[in-house]
């Protein structure tokens, strides 16, 4: 028989307060559960106790009771049937709620594992766990409560699972310390901006310490969302020796008085609270009218740890884009994302506010590569990202992987495009770039482009995308090719800004295409565009001239506050780079590139390489200058006259020089050496510092290193080696417990019949062990591994 869906009686708004219940775990312990027992087991073993707690909370005034299934997405000890315990938990609550009149919230907390990049769980794995719980409870419960989240991406993933596997209202809360951040470093605003844009039925805070510390955070949250806000604090923190929470019912209720000014529509209690706490809480709030706090104006984006509020003259770094960058295209095409990460770090240090990510490498799977690039960038940068693709499938995959609120770049005014891109932005809470072109191409006139912009804004509004999340691009055409191109763009920009009140965005460098002194034109055009109302410039932030234009505009237009940013950047700006770099060993006078590498001076190495390239063939620079210098460093290290830190600073300098040479080679369409080598830290292990050192040394010697990262399963190593045609695999493991995974990986490589050598290394690996698992080489340190790699390729 088809089970009838419960009628959804939940209405969360500011008409009156809605009351959640209090702690479950604390009550279970108080009613006889032994410490250390999995709480959910009580749903099966002692349902009468669980139901008793639900019943007491309803008597205390709770409108919503929360199922005893907090751990339902967690990894549980083998042999424990969490599914049975979870369903039993849903039923306990349903039974009591039906009898006494209350709503049932399907409760799910974190998986208890860290997601990538901090941890090893993938978004897909986390999603599957949450989706499973949702499927179990979708027909039994009245709403979903996702709570106690610390990782923004995990919260987002759980939210998507709830939306995609139930028709129920979804409310979601994270747990913050008093400093306003979660343990994962997520500020309360980043949570509000990211999840609020996905439109949950309510958004809130739970757990943490007591109400007093949480109230200011609730206000901060309310100020950045336009959905209802709730709060469910602990009764203070437990004492390490007695285990008692510090706030009794009266203390808790008294502290909660202050929450009436926090913009809340729903309140309840978390760890340490009891029916007595909830009874006093509901008594204090019943009959009061909730006071919402209005969302403050502004266009906001977020990464998981950083909030971006548009302030005028903001910068999107454009360099993570393989189009027109052969070196990047080559490395991305091979799946090597090291350059992508380096560009992310570099652009951030140059002052980018947002990072554009484009993964359009011809012949490559854009969807897969874009997701990998997003993950790689987020692993090393805390800037919000701009997903740059024309493929809706690739965009959606990237939107699911993004931690934070991104911009999607882009839709056009074409009907099909609007219908594909805007629903994605609405669902995932992303801002969107709208290009002012449509089925008729790019309108020549400013009015024509304005009309397309208006069409895009109307369509966005229909999809529920707020104005502040729309960024219109009036398109820069080459001034040398089209008469009056700049004027039309600037005029359209002005119209959009004035009449539509949305944000504007522009790629700048196209203006100078085909003309001499491009840097000058780019900079002048950028200044004009900023004057016409440009909010967000998509530029190369590593070009000092452009950033000078941006920073001076900010100062002149009064958005640089007390001008501290400008002054800090440009006051007494003598070059201190040399002083920061560590010396390797005294090389004396001599050949500049060799000397710079030996001393570990990065900037000097780059300069010397440029000097050499002016008169020497790139391959000659490598063979006659770079390699000999590296060999000297390697010999010194072998002899013990050079220490590891010096080896590393030399490697860093050599790498910088190498990059310069590679750019020249790539521009000529040559690959530049680049025998592929696959390296990985094996499955189960997350220690990668040793592997990373090997990687740098291999890159120094010109290898194209495909770094699969850490916790890499054997099949992924095999796949990467096969796809790239690598003739050498390097495996690293630090722990005795993960050594077996090293053996499995070698076995898998042999099984697959790869024509490939395998070298191994890592703290606990020995020559004997390497021999016993059939490795071809044991590298006692990074230097010997690099030498072995050279010997494999006959160098």
């Amino acid at each position: 028989m088809q089970k009838e869906k419960p009628v959804n009686k939940l209405r969360l708004d500011y008409g009156k307060y809605t009351f959640l219940d209090g702690a479950m775990g604390t009550q279970l312990l108080a009613r006889g559960m032994k410490a250390g027992v999995i709480s959910e087991s009580m749903n099966v073993d002692h349902p009468e106790i669980v139901k008793g707690i639900h019943s007491d909370y309803i008597d205390a005034g709770a409108d919503i009771i929360i199922t005893n299934t907090f751990g339902s997405a967690k990894t549980v000890p083998e042999g424990f049937d969490m599914d049975a315990a979870t369903v039993a938990g849903f039923k306990c609550a349903r039974e009591v709620a039906d009898e006494k009149g209350a709503l049932v919230a399907l409760n799910v907390g974190p998986t208890g594992e860290l997601l990538e990049p901090g941890g090893v769980m993938t978004v897909d794995e986390a999603y599957e766990r949450f989706a499973h719980v949702m499927r179990l409870g979708a027909d039994i419960c009245d709403l979903v409560l996702i709570e106690t989240m610390a990782d923004l991406l995990e919260a987002k993933t759980a939210f998507l699972a709830a939306r995609e596997h139930t028709d129920l209202p979804v409310v979601i809360s994270m747990t913050f310390e008093e400093n306003g951040r979660t343990f994962a470093g997520v500020p309360v605003e980043a949570f509000g901006i990211t999840i609020g844009a996905m439109r949950p039925d309510a958004i809130g805070l739970n757990c943490s310490a007591g109400p007093v510390g949480m109230i200011p955070l609730a206000k901060r949250l309310a100020a950045v969302v336009d959905v209802p806000v709730f709060m469910k604090p602990n009764a203070g923190l437990p004492d390490p020796i007695t285990g008692e929470h510090v706030l009794g019912p009266e203390g808790f209720a008294a502290e909660m008085e202050g929450a009436k000014e926090a913009g809340l529509c729903m309140v309840g209690g978390c760890c340490g609270t009891s029916p007595a706490h909830i009874a006093l809480l509901t008594a204090g709030f019943r009959g009061e009218v909730p006071k919402p706090i209005a969302k403050t104006e502004g266009s906001r984006l977020a990464s998981s740890t950083r909030v971006f509020t548009a302030g005028g003259a903001d910068v999107t770094g454009e360099r993570i884009n393989p189009t027109g960058n052969l070196a990047l295209k080559n490395s991305m095409g091979k799946g090597d994302l090291g350059k992508v990460q380096a560009l992310a770090v570099e652009q951030a240090s140059c002052g980018a506010d947002i990072l554009d990510i484009n993964a359009g490498v011809p012949g490559a799977d854009e969807k897969k590569l874009l997701v990998s690039a997003v993950k790689a960038v987020q692993a090393v940068s805390d800037l919000p990202v701009q997903i740059d693709s024309a493929d809706p499938e690739a965009i959606e995959a990237a939107l699911r992987a993004v931690n934070g609120k991104p911009i999607v770049n882009s839709t056009t005014g074409e009907k099909d495009k609007l219908g594909q891109i805007l629903p994605l932005c609405a669902k995932y809470g992303a801002a969107v770039v709208g290009l002012t072109l449509d089925e008729g191409g790019i309108p020549e006139t400013a009015e024509g482009r304005f009309a397309v912009a208006e069409k895009i804004c109307d369509a966005a509004a229909m999809h529920g995308i707020p104005k502040e999340d729309i960024y219109i691009d009036c398109l820069t055409l080459a001034a040398g090719a089209v008469q009056g191109a700049a004027t039309a763009t600037l005029e359209a920009l002005r119209l959009v800004k004035e009449r539509l009140g949305v944000r504007t965005v522009l790629g700048v460098s196209n203006i100078s295409f085909g003309l001499p002194n491009r840097a000058l034109l780019n900079r002048q055009f950028l200044t004009l565009a900023l004057g016409a109302g440009l909010d967000l410039a998509i530029v190369n932030p590593s070009e000092p001239g452009l950033m000078e234009a941006i920073r001076s505009f900010r100062l002149l237009s009064g958005t640089d506050g007390e001008m501290e940013a400008y002054i800090e950047k440009y006051a007494g700006a003598e070059d201190v780079a040399e002083a920061r770099e560590p010396g390797g060993l005294s090389a004396g006078e001599g050949e500049p590139l060799e000397s710079a590498i030996l001393k570990g001076l990065k900037d000097a190495a780059v300069e010397a390489a440029r000097g050499l390239l002016a008169e020497t063939e790139p391959l000659d620079v490598i063979d006659s200058h770079l390699m000999p210098a590296l060999d000297r460093v390697g010999e010194g290290y072998e002899k013990g006259t050079i220490y590891l830190p010096q080896l590393l600073s030399s490697a860093g300098a050599a790498q910088a020089a190498f990059d310069v040479v590679k750019e020249v080679l790539a521009a000529r369409g040559e690959e530049g050496g680049g025998e592929p080598v696959v390296i990985a830290t094996v499955k189960g292990d997350v220690h990668d510092i040793g592997k990373n050192i090997v990687k740098v040394l291999l890159q120094n010697y010109g290898f194209s290193v495909i770094d699969l990262g850490r916790d890499v399963p054997p099949e992924k190593v095999v796949e990467a080696a096969r796809d790239s045609g690598a003739r050498l695999i390097g495996l690293s493991a630090l722990m005795t417990t993960t050594l077996p995974a090293m053996a499995e990986t070698i076995a898998a490589a042999k099984e697959a019949g790869l024509d490939c050598k395998v070298m191994v290394g890592g703290a606990v690996v020995t020559q004997e062990y390497a021999d016993s698992i059939g490795a071809d080489f044991y590298g006692k340190d990074a230097s010997s591994s690099a030498q072995y790699a050279r010997s494999v390729f006959g160098a």
């Binding site: 106690t148 470093g185 692993a379 040399e578 920061r580 010396g583 990065k602 220490y643 510092i689």
Partner: protein
């Protein structure tokens, strides 16, 4: 819990451990190392949690002792020796936080020298906070014991030392509610994440105890330890 005191890294000891041996970095390198240390200290948001358990000796299920209530059973002769004469055990977990891991990832993408210096510094800093945690536990327990006469503590003992299997890590962290209390998790292969984290067991007794930390010879690096070759030990 947060730490009220902020212990710092001893720069001279640190440079020695970094792999310079008895040599000294030149001025530029020293400056860069000092900068890296300061950045690591800034990137840390150390948090800790501890609980005091009762030590119950019973060889049921292959355990030497178990921590009650709610703690795991501990197997192995070394931990049994360490907790000899102890009625209780304070177990703590500390982490420098996810922000530290992010900082280290960022440096890995930018420069190998900075990455290695910072990684080493972060490990060192975690040890400094472990010392601080131990001190705070000692302070807190000073008034306990029969008639408030105080208790005696052993040194720290961590999973993976001697024959105390690393797999107990997951159970220890769960017993401390580590994920909820300080954001600390443990992978299936018993590795703590965020990476720069430490757990330890400190024996508590009403009479003087010394504990017995497993020695060098039980270390996984026994065979190839560079430090041992020079005649040094970790402590």
């Amino acid at each position: 819990m947060i730490f009220e005191n902020k212990p710092g890294i001893d720069e001279d000891v640190f440079i020695h451990r970094l792999g310079y041996g008895d040599a000294l970095p030149d001025e530029a390198a020293a400056k860069r190392i000092a900068g890296a240390l300061a950045e690591v200290e800034r990137a840390a948001s150390p948090r800790w949690v501890y609980k005091v358990f009762e030590v119950v000796r019973s060889h049921a299920r292959g355990h030497a002792v178990s921590l009650e209530p709610g703690g795991p059973g501990l197997a192995g002769r070394d931990i049994e020796r360490h907790l000899e004469g102890c009625t209780g055990a304070a177990v703590f977990a500390l982490t420098l936080g996810a922000g530290m891991d992010a900082h280290l990832r960022r440096l890995s993408a930018a420069d190998p020298f900075d990455a290695v210096v910072a990684d080493t510094a972060a490990s060192e800093l975690a040890e400094c906070y472990a010392d601080e945690a131990e001190r705070l536990i000692k302070e807190r327990l000073a008034g306990e014991g029969p008639g408030g006469s105080g208790v005696y503590l052993t040194g720290r003992y961590s999973p993976g030392y001697g024959d105390l299997d690393l797999s107990v890590q997951n159970k220890l962290v769960r017993a401390l509610d580590g994920a909820r209390a300080i954001g600390l998790t443990v992978t299936d292969s018993h590795i703590m994440l965020p990476r720069k984290s430490i757990t330890a067991i400190i024996g508590v007794s009403d009479h003087p105890v010394t504990g017995a930390r497993a020695g060098c010879e039980s270390c996984a690096l026994w065979e190839k330890c560079e430090k041992r070759k020079t005649g040094e030990a970790c402590e």
